[in-house]
């Protein structure tokens, strides 16, 4: 195959229909070696279906997918040998210990990593002889990640790896995902948490209703927004908002209440000095001021007109 060496996954015009339902609607993208590639979108956007088509678990209605230079439809087993897969909300056998499960799954592959090594990768070495049922939610998720590594895969797929975890366990899992990535493995993950995509992903494809609405690095996606910053202020006394909308780079005044205001601007660096002048000139005492850059949530909102989570 004559794939470029740095391209580990290429998806061309992928379509997947279930009867009348179009789950994936003609999407194309490629994933580069060594990157963390995120697919972000609300539930039902087609993220899992896309992932499962790449993993060879579902047959595309049309389109061409190749992984590590092998066309998935033609030779799924060669692909399965070289990838690691974590399924959304999947569990493992109840009555086998972690070591036994990893040993068993290792036997399904020609290349395998010793269970002890896998468990220490995710910090579960002291749980080697425990069953999955006795682990906490975060530990279970970490174990499913360890289980994706049994065959020392080049590409790892994680479907909603932190769904249902508390914020601390989520942070903790991000560290493990980053450390797996730093071993040189390419990671493809889906998520509907924009913080997760921002924190972990080198590039993000935003999906909605089966389509990729945009694809870029998180920073570029945010920067591409016409109004990437929001300014929020509270005031001690009542004031008149006259002139606020005319300040440098301000695009919109969202609301002006008696004791505060909210506005959007295209460049906070220009708006802030002007805002300070305006505040001094009108003798307004600020009790609180904050500037927040927009996030992927805003990108999604501006592209689809809907919130990421309902």
């Amino acid at each position: 195959m004559s794939e470029p060496v740095d391209e580990v996954i290429s998806v061309e015009s992928l379509n997947k229909r279930f009867g009348d339902l179009v789950a994936v609607d003609d999407i194309s993208f490629s994933v580069r070696r060594g990157e963390v590639f995120g697919i972000l979108g609300p539930n039902g956007a087609g993220k899992t279906t896309t992932l499962e088509c790449i993993e060879g678990l579902q047959e595309p209605s049309s389109g061409r997918i190749s992984v590590l230079g092998t066309e998935v439809a033609r030779d799924p087993n060669t692909v399965k040998e070289r990838i690691g897969v974590q399924l959304q909300a999947s569990a493992y056998f109840d009555y086998l210990t972690l070591t036994e499960i990893l040993e068993l799954f290792g036997r399904f592959y020609s290349r395998r990593v010793p269970p002890a090594e896998l468990l220490s990768t995710v910090g579960l070495e002291d749980k080697a002889n425990t069953t999955v049922g006795k682990l906490s939610g975060g530990q279970q998720q970490r174990f499913t990640i360890a289980a994706t590594l049994v065959n020392d895969p080049e590409v790892v797929f994680l479907d909603e790896p932190t769904a249902g975890l508390d914020p601390q366990a989520r942070r903790n899992l991000w560290d493990f995902v980053q450390s797996i990535n730093s071993q040189g493995r390419t990671i493809v993950l889906t998520t509907h948490y924009m913080e997760e995509a921002e924190f972990l992903c080198d590039r993000v494809a935003i999906m909605d209703q089966g389509r990729i609405v945009t694809l870029d690095t998180p920073t570029n996606l945010v920067r591409s927004l016409p109004v990437p910053y929001e300014v929020r202020a509270s005031t001690l006394n009542e004031f008149s908002s006259n002139g606020l909308a005319d300040l440098d780079c301000v695009t919109e005044v969202l609301d002006d209440q008696n004791r505060g205001f909210r506005l959007r601007c295209s460049d906070a660096a220009s708006t802030m000095p002007a805002l300070m002048d305006w505040v001094a000139k009108n003798d307004i005492k600020l009790t609180h001021l904050e500037v927040t850059p927009a996030n992927l949530e805003d990108v999604f909102l501006s592209l689809t007109g809907r919130a990421l989570r309902d």
Partner: protein
């Protein structure tokens, strides 16, 4: 070897599920013990109360003759009134009253009456009546001093007669194997699907059919262990005559169990949850247990039902395993049964493959 490793992993999982293991191993044994106790009760002796007013040689001879009969238990009483009350209350079934003047009047007419009081509804009364009257005849002859001219030379032919527990034991073993296999496989499959374990395996290079094959092998092994355990306990504790060839018994069990494992796969494929699989599994198992000859021969059922039931997979398996175990019968004795089981294996395999391809 991968298949072996997978089978071992499956056996581990089966054995570590203590609750399921109890139903597979201990529960059938409990049934054997319970039915063993009931069966022993049925061969109890008949108590015959005797009030002996004569207290002489002849009366003592009569009592001794009765006591020598193995299944009679002679109970000598003093108080006739109490004994009669017991008969009336159904606490006692037979009462013999020997009159005071037995010897003194024995040579005169009219003859002396030895009273036998019994409850007419008692099933064994005919046996007792004829036994007592035979003893009296014998003593009549002795008293009259008549020489014995004709003697009965009894020549009992030993016809192999099986007790209730003998009949029941192979049936209970097969029943235990069937419920464990159907419900065990069904709940495992439902559990694996619920937890997406099957899908996770699909994401590896392993063929799912290899995984299922290992599950089948594990359950076939467990079936042999179940059969050995239940039959051994029956043989050692209850003296059930296990005369058959273990290889033949084992092969009948494996053959029949293939049907049940397939049924387990089908039930598991159709069940949305583990609970549903367990319920649906019982729905498949229970009617077969009731009517397929585990507790009574299927020909005891009304005609139409008999002909239907004997074609269910359990009936031929029970028939063949029972014949092989108790009467050392072989493959050639059960061509119909083997045929029916083979048909069931083919049919259920096709359905199982079809439902799984559909999933």
């Amino acid at each position: 070897m991968l298949l072996l490793q997978l089978t071992i992993a499956n056996v581990k999982m089966i054995v570590r599920n203590r609750q399921a293991l109890f139903w597979a191993m201990a529960f059938p044994l409990v049934m054997v013990v319970i039915f063993g106790l009931i069966a022993q009760d049925r061969v109890s002796t008949t108590t015959i109360a005797v009030v002996d007013y004569a207290q002489d040689d002849i009366s003592r001879q009569l009592i001794q003759n009765l006591a020598e009969v193995e299944s009679f238990d002679v109970d000598v009483r003093q108080d006739e009134a109490v004994a009669r009350d017991e008969i009336a209350d159904d606490d006692l079934n037979f009462l013999i009253i020997i009159p005071r003047d037995l010897t003194s009047k024995a040579n005169r007419t009219p003859p002396v009456e030895v009273a036998l009081i019994y409850d007419e509804t008692t099933q064994t009364s005919g046996v007792i009546l004829s036994a007592v009257s035979r003893f009296l005849d014998q003593m009549n002859l002795e008293i009259a001093g008549a020489p014995t001219r004709l003697v009965l030379a009894p020549e009992g032919i030993l016809i192999e007669e099986f007790s209730f527990i003998d009949f029941l034991l192979p049936g209970i073993a097969v029943w235990g194997i069937m419920s464990f296999s159907v419900i065990g496989v069904a709940t495992s499959i439902a559990n694996y699907r619920e937890k997406k374990i099957l899908r996770r395996i699909l994401a590896t290079p392993l063929k799912v059919r290899t995984f299922f094959f290992a599950l089948v092998l594990a359950y076939l092994g467990m079936a042999l262990i179940q059969a050995s355990l239940i039959l051994s306990v029956g043989g050692l504790v209850y003296g059930v005559p296990i005369t058959g060839n273990f290889l033949v018994i084992g092969l009948f069990i494996l053959l029949g169990n293939l049907v049940f494992l397939n049924l387990g796969f089908i039930v598991g494929a159709y069940s949305k949850s583990v609970q549903a699989a367990s319920g649906l599994g019982n729905l498949v198992v229970l009617p077969m247990v009731m009517f397929s000859g585990v507790f009574f021969p299927p020909d005891a059922l009304p005609g139409v039902l008999t002909s239907v039931v004997q074609f269910l997979p359990l009936a031929p398996m029970v028939e063949a395993v029972r014949g092989a175990t108790l009467e050392a019968k072989g493959f050639s004795d059960f061509p119909l049964e083997i045929g029916i089981m083979a048909l069931w294996i083919a049919l259920t395999s096709l359905v199982a493959v079809k439902v799984f391809r559909f999933q």
